[in-house]
């Protein structure tokens, strides 16, 4: 699938989850998400595991709050007001929809990971937005490395510790400052020299892949997601 097809599929599939209707649509979306994950082959198992891991802490907290402490169901479950029901059922309803949301998102990210260059750069966004995305992802890598380097230096200098400590709380901002000042220093220097010579924005725009239209696979998956959305809306209006 193409970058734009993946995002369109995700938006429509997730939108169908949020239509506040009492219908079989979540099951349809589950089937869609499962089919999409299965289409990823062995990587689908990794996607499902990631989705489970992301929803597990929320499920634990929801159970603790609604079942153990409060002992009743929430008044709102996933965009729909509910009548009094079992807290277990409500927690299961919220958790299963959050799981579907995570499954679809991670599935799309996994499918997009095959696209080169990274699929976010192929999105049909305004030129400036694509350049900022490119610059941000590039700077994140540089800043993360800078932060790790500064962290090592500050721990070696006995200003910070490698463990949870009050000293980290008191002096931790030094690490943020070191990282920021280093990144700004690099940017200032390059803005006046290297990036000016390279004509950065135009060069970056030229390096980005062109935003392509939808292909056959995009149309098939997007249509299936569209069917789920139509089903949800129809159930809502009925």
């Amino acid at each position: 699938m193409s970058s734009n097809g993946l995002v369109l599929f995700l938006v429509i599939a997730v939108a169908s989850l949020f239509v506040p209707s009492r219908s079989v649509v979540p099951i349809l979306v589950l089937a869609l998400g499962s089919a999409f994950t299965l289409a990823l082959g062995r990587r689908g198992v990794v996607v499902a595991r990631r989705a489970l891991l992301s929803v597990a802490p929320l499920a634990i907290f929801l159970t603790l709050v609604w079942v153990v402490i409060v002992g009743r169901a929430p008044e709102v479950v996933f965009f729909r007001s509910t009548r009094p029901a079992s807290p277990w059922l409500s927690v299961a309803a919220i958790t299963s929809r959050l799981f579907l949301l995570a499954l679809l998102t991670f599935g799309v990210i996994e499918a997009g990971s095959r696209i080169r260059p990274p699929f976010v750069f192929g999105l049909a966004l305004p030129r400036e937005a694509r350049i900022v995305l490119l610059a941000t992802t590039s700077l994140v890598g540089a800043m993360r490395l800078g932060a790790e380097r500064a962290h090592t230096a500050l721990v070696s200098a006995n200003i910070l510790t490698g463990r949870r400590s009050w000293r980290n709380l008191a002096h931790g901002w030094l690490l943020v400052r070191t990282t920021w000042v280093a990144a700004v220093g690099i940017a200032v220097e390059r803005l006046d020299t290297k990036w000016k010579c390279e004509d950065l924005p135009n060069a970056a725009a030229a390096a980005l892949p062109p935003a392509r239209g939808l292909n056959a696979r995009d149309v098939i998956w997007t249509s299936l997601a569209g069917l789920c959305l139509c089903g949800a809306v129809a159930a809502l209006l009925r």
Partner: protein, 206 residues
């Protein structure tokens, strides 16, 4: 194309994302994910409209990219835009003072606390519907205990989520405003001058 502006937005969005890594290195129980957004709104002095657009863009980009790791984060993009708006309207006119004023003066801390509390209140109001409608009132960590406490004391779900946010967000946002101001004070004047800070021609250089 305003190269300086693009680089500032990218730097601030990257800062939003990287501070998450730093918090992890510190092993602290907080989420300082909007320092870049606040810093961006404070840095641009040439035009408040541009300051808002740039800081909102930094927030949206960082939430979008963070969503590639945590699929629930992009739902709080509205909070990022609201924080950008508050800081632009209230904090941006005070940026020069916050940068120059001595930290020993009580006025400096009053300004930081005022800005942080106001931002926290707005963030809590904007986040509450997402917390209720998407997560059933519970997003994990310490906020779950607060929501549980308010629910147990007889409040409705929406009110509990709002009260939980109003309790926790001002503390978190005050810390973020303080960190952003400390970074603003550390930023080289030559860089700030590109965005209309004092002593510069007052326009964004191309």
């Amino acid at each position: 194309m305003r190269t300086n502006l693009v680089i500032l937005v990218a730097l601030c969005a990257a800062l939003n994302l990287v501070v998450g890594t730093i918090v992890y290195l510190f092993k602290l129980p907080v989420y300082l994910d909007m320092i870049g957004t606040i810093l961006c709104a404070l840095t641009i002095q040439s035009s408040r409209r541009i300051a808002f657009i740039a800081s909102a863009a930094a927030a949206l980009i960082s939430f979008f990219l963070a969503g590639l790791v945590n699929p629930y984060l992009p739902w709080f993009s509205g909070t990022g835009v609201a924080v950008a708006a508050v800081i632009t309207v209230v904090g941006n006119p005070q940026a020069a003072r916050l940068r120059e004023e001595s930290m020993r003066k009580p006025g400096f801390w009053v300004r930081i606390a005022g800005l942080g509390i106001l931002t926290g209140l707005v963030a809590a109001v904007v986040s509450a519907p997402v917390v209720v409608y998407l997560f059933g009132g519970v997003t994990g960590s310490g906020s779950a205990a607060l929501v549980a406490f308010f629910l147990k004391t007889g409040h409705e779900l929406m009110r509990s989520a709002l009260l939980s946010g109003l309790t926790a967000e001002p503390v978190d946002k005050t810390a973020q405003v303080l960190l952003a101001v400390l970074l603003l004070r550390s930023t080289p004047t030559s860089f700030l001058a590109r965005f209309g800070a004092e002593g510069s021609p007052g326009r964004i250089a191309a």
